[in-house]
């Protein structure tokens, strides 16, 4: 009989926590609260189980970030953590899969992959055109078409870079959302 009272009270104690935290993050938190409440019977233990200090987080829980370098970007976990993959310039790392636990992040990752491919393709063609223009300008076969080739190439590079930048903006958002949803 006494144990029934105890379980009823424990169940009742978990209700305010669930109702107060009815948003997206609630499932995980309330779930761990209920588990902690059932397994330990002290309030201090419950609080400790719910709010995990950053210092005790495992490496897998560290937030993601990316660093760009020469048109590519390394996706890194933590401040100096491991490089999980490299994206950009026709690199095929699957960002969507990496952030699949966050729906917002997935849609931004898709945008990144589309923009990045377009930008990489057009800017590569543009850079090749500029290169040809410079070679022609540096040779004795220099003629009036050289500036047109260089300007057209530079225009393509600019258009491509703009799309690559849009892609990295989407990647930044994807990781932002992923980190947000991971921390809840």
């Amino acid at each position: 009989m006494k144990s029934k009272h105890l379980w009823a009270l424990l169940l009742g104690a978990s209700v305010p926590g669930v109702s107060a935290n009815a948003q997206q993050a609630s499932e995980h938190t309330a779930g761990s609260s209920a588990t902690a409440a059932a397994s330990s019977k002290t309030a201090a233990t419950v609080a400790k189980a719910v709010v995990v200090p950053d210092s005790v987080r495992t490496a897998d829980m560290q937030p993601l970030r990316f660093e760009t370098s020469w048109g590519s970007a390394d996706i890194i976990r933590g401040a100096d953590g491991p490089v999980l993959g490299t994206v950009g310039w026709f690199r095929g790392f699957d960002v969507e899969k990496l952030v699949e636990s966050s729906p917002h992040a997935v849609s931004e990752a898709r945008r990144f992959q589309t923009d990045n491919f377009r930008g990489s393709l057009v800017s590569t063609i543009g850079a090749a055109t500029v290169g040809i223009g410079i070679l022609v300008a540096g040779s004795n076969a220099n003629n009036a078409s050289t500036p047109i080739i260089i300007i057209a190439g530079a225009g393509a590079v600019g258009w491509g870079l703009q799309h690559i930048n849009n892609g990295y903006t989407a990647l930044s958002k994807a990781l932002w959302w992923y980190n947000r949803d991971q921390s809840h």
Partner: protein, 156 residues
């Protein structure tokens, strides 16, 4: 065991759960409102805050951007922000100087007799552009770390 003796642990437990729930909600609100991220376009880098996408700082090639002040609440972020500030604009201007040298020589050589741009000029231009790009990359890596540390320290 009486009902009264169970009531005190019940109250303590409820209080603890409500406190922890409030902590999680406060953490969520802090991240949503204050966490930074980076956006870039051809004119420079923008630092955007929170879920509302408000631009809090623009780092361009002309105006000096005070990233250090923005991330002042996190010591690690400040260290990285200083590296960013020491390299970003200098790198951009070095790259622009490289392009300008080549364009100027090309223009001068096409006044009057048509002369090709010499190999040393092209080499110097490429060297300046590469050096500038290396410094911009160093700056961007530092900025990425600065934002990461700032967001991390928001949650502590």
């Amino acid at each position: 065991m009486s009902v009264q003796s169970l009531f005190i642990p019940y109250l303590a437990m409820s209080l603890a759960i409500m406190t922890s729930t409030a902590l999680v909600e406060a953490q969520e609100r802090t991240y949503d409102e204050a966490a930074l991220r980076l956006e870039s376009d051809l004119s420079g880098i923008r630092i955007v805050r929170g879920i509302s996408d408000s631009v809090v700082l623009t780092a361009g090639m002309v105006k000096r951007s005070d990233v250090t002040r923005l991330v002042a609440s996190s010591p690690n972020a400040v260290t990285q922000a200083k590296i960013f500030e020491a390299n970003y604009r200098q790198g951009i201007w070095t790259g622009i100087a490289g392009l300008a040298v080549w364009a100027a020589v090309y223009g001068i050589n096409h006044i009057g007799t048509n002369q090709p741009v010499t190999a040393p000029t092209t080499f110097v231009s490429i060297a300046l552009v590469v050096y500038g790009t290396i410094r911009v990359d160093t700056a961007k890596r530092a900025l990425s770390k600065a934002v990461w540390w700032y967001n991390r320290d928001l949650k502590v």
